[in-house]
């Protein structure tokens, strides 16, 4: 007999579930754990020592006590389960015996026994004051009465586990899964009035899974892959959502830009007129204030020339009333040097720059860039 967690219709679609197996199919043994050693390895070693079958022929799991000093191991012969039953566990999240409901009491019960009666099965849970039961005994009631079977089991428990011959609780109903999530597995009895509830942490619940450990490892790997795949899918779905939001943003931004461009286009004519008027006003002010004095400029450049008449202007370009470019040639580099020095001393000239001086076949060519001081040049001083 197996039972699964009660599920909502949405959750029922999921392949995950908790499978509770009948307790009477399991051999149970409590062992002391060596500190700081792998629990699973110690359990497997214990199974080899105490187990009724070879490890390959059994399904097993274990539950550690809260203080980590003890473990209750349980094992069942594989042939106790049909191949259909075993196949149905493939989609289960955890497969564990139904007596897991007794394995996580909040406070260790006092030494004695609990008697649990369910349909045709009687179980005795033997407590010796530890966090885990000292032992579990299950038996189907055949022709004898429930009380008779319970008395026999209790006597056996007293004898085998050395627990006092007192029964502190009588329990009934089916163990069912109340919740299964990040907080762990919550089991309870479905009989009204029963206060038995067990909360098993996730790690403990996983260790209680009785399925083949190699298959479990494969299943865990598959689940891990599925989890990563889901994370990838969710991340990409979020990316698509982000793209959609960005797309909307771009469309809105594009519309706003179009509107702004229309405004610019509407005002372009007026703005251009004002800009042109400003430019013309500047030019007019400049021309009214200082007209281009060609003769004055030429005179200002001519006066410092060497008296030997060995320096000649080839080309003069004037682009503003205060600036001119001159292309000239001299018969020697010394003339250029003297001329540049003379220009720098001129009271009318603010800046002189000689560019690209070259000597070819004894003739020095160069370019001059001259900037006049404010108020210069003055006309009427040409010679």
């Amino acid at each position: 007999m197996t039972s699964t967690a009660p599920q909502t219709p949405a959750a029922a679609a999921r392949p995950q579930s908790i499978v509770l197996l009948p307790g009477e199919k399991f051999f149970v043994r409590r062992i002391q754990l060596m500190p700081a050693q792998d629990v699973a390895a110690q359990v497997e070693l214990a199974l080899e020592m105490f187990g009724p079958f070879a490890p390959a022929q059994i399904f097993h799991g274990f539950c550690t006590s809260r203080d980590g000093k003890q473990a209750l191991l349980f094992a069942a012969y594989r042939k106790n389960f049909t191949s259909e039953e075993i196949a149905s566990w493939a989609t289960a999240d955890v497969v564990l015996p139904e007596f897991a409901v007794w394995l996580a009491p909040e406070v260790p019960p006092p030494a004695g026994t609990w008697i649990y009666e369910n349909e045709d099965t009687i179980s005795v849970i033997a407590w010796d004051g530890g966090q885990l039961p000292a032992g579990l005994l299950c038996r189907k009631q055949a022709s004898t009465s429930a009380e008779g079977v319970a008395s026999e089991l209790q006597a056996e428990a007293v004898k085998r586990f050395g627990v006092p011959d007192t029964t502190s609780r009588r329990l009934g109903g089916n163990p069912v899964v109340d919740r299964w999530g990040k907080e762990g597995l919550v089991l309870k009895l479905d009989k009204p009035g029963q206060t038995m509830t067990a909360v098993l942490p996730v790690a403990v619940t996983r260790s209680m899974d009785v399925r083949d450990k190699a298959e479990l490892a494969g299943l865990a790997e598959l689940q891990k892959r599925s989890h990563w795949l889901w994370l990838g899918f969710a991340g990409l779905a979020a990316g698509v959502a982000l793209c959609a939001v960005t797309e909307i943003g771009l469309q809105v931004s594009g519309k706003l830009l179009d509107r702004q461009k229309l405004t610019i286009k509407a005002n372009a004519g007026s703005a251009q007129q004002i800009e042109q008027a400003n430019m013309l006003a500047s030019r007019m002010e400049q021309m009214a204030g200082q007209r281009l004095k060609l003769v004055g400029m030429l005179a200002a450049l001519n006066d410092p020339r060497p008296k030997s008449n060995t320096l000649n202007f080839v080309r003069t370009t004037i682009n503003s009333p205060t600036q001119m470019e001159v292309e000239a040639q001299a018969s020697s580099a010394a003339d250029l040097r003297d001329y540049e020095q003379a220009l720098r001393r001129s009271p009318a000239i603010e800046k002189v720059e000689v560019r690209d001086p070259r000597i070819r076949e004894g003739v020095t060519t160069f370019q001059l860039s001259v900037v006049f001081k404010p108020g210069f040049p003055v006309e009427g001083d040409s010679k």
Binding site: A10, A11, A13, R14, P15, R225, S226, L229, W230, G232, F233, A234, L236, A237, G239, V240, C243, T246, E247, L250, S253, G254, L257, Q260, K261, T263, I264, N267, A268, S270, A271, Q273, I274, E275, Q276, A277, N278, M279, L280, A281, R283, M284, E285, M287, A288, R291, L292, L294, V295, N312, F313, V314, R315, T316, T317, I318, N319, S320, E327
Partner: protein, 175 residues
């Protein structure tokens, strides 16, 4: 969505994830390109708008300057494009000058006409005479730019190009 995803087979889940990946890469790269273009467009448009708003904001100031300048000019002495052309032609009589490349920049109140005068192989004296006569017309007619160069083939002769402007009052400012 997670429960829906997990009900699918591994192959379906991988296919769904792959489709989603393609969608994100395709759409994302398209968005990236378009957003860059839009960003450049916005920057350019904002600059243009700022500049335009600046000009529109300064309209009163520019108008004031224009009115002030126009008020300083004698409308009777200003020359329109044809008058400037005729006047330059008169000043260059006998100098074999070429007059061309006329261009006019116009505002609400006045216009500035530009023309180019070119002299080839001319002596310095006639050029000086032209300059002096032109100077008498300032500021209604004047030199904007000029270039003078020695003619290497004809010693003592020069080539000169003058950019000349004339001011024209289109609508006299109100007194």
């Amino acid at each position: 969505m997670k429960s829906f995803f997990n009900t699918k087979t591994m192959r379906e889940r991988v296919l769904m994830t792959a489709c989603m990946l393609i969608a994100v890469v395709w759409w994302g790269s398209s968005l990236l390109g378009r957003s860059r273009v839009l960003q450049v467009d916005w920057r350019s448009s904002n600059m243009e708008l700022d500049e335009q708003q600046n000009w529109l904001k300064n309209k009163a100031q520019v108008d004031q300057r224009m009115t002030k300048i126009t008020a300083q000019l004698d409308p009777k002495r200003t020359l329109n494009a044809s008058e400037a052309f005729a006047e330059i032609d008169r000043l260059t009589q006998g100098m074999h000058g070429e007059i061309g490349q006329q261009r006019t920049e116009r505002t609400e109140n006045f216009a500035m006409n530009n023309l180019q005068v070119t002299f080839r192989r001319i002596g310095f004296e006639p050029l000086l005479k032209f300059y002096k006569e032109l100077s008498l017309k300032a500021p209604y007619l004047g030199i904007d730019k000029c270039s003078i160069s020695v003619d290497r083939a004809a010693p003592g002769q020069i080539n000169a190009v003058f950019q000349i402007y004339s001011v024209e009052i289109v609508r006299p400012s109100a007194p």
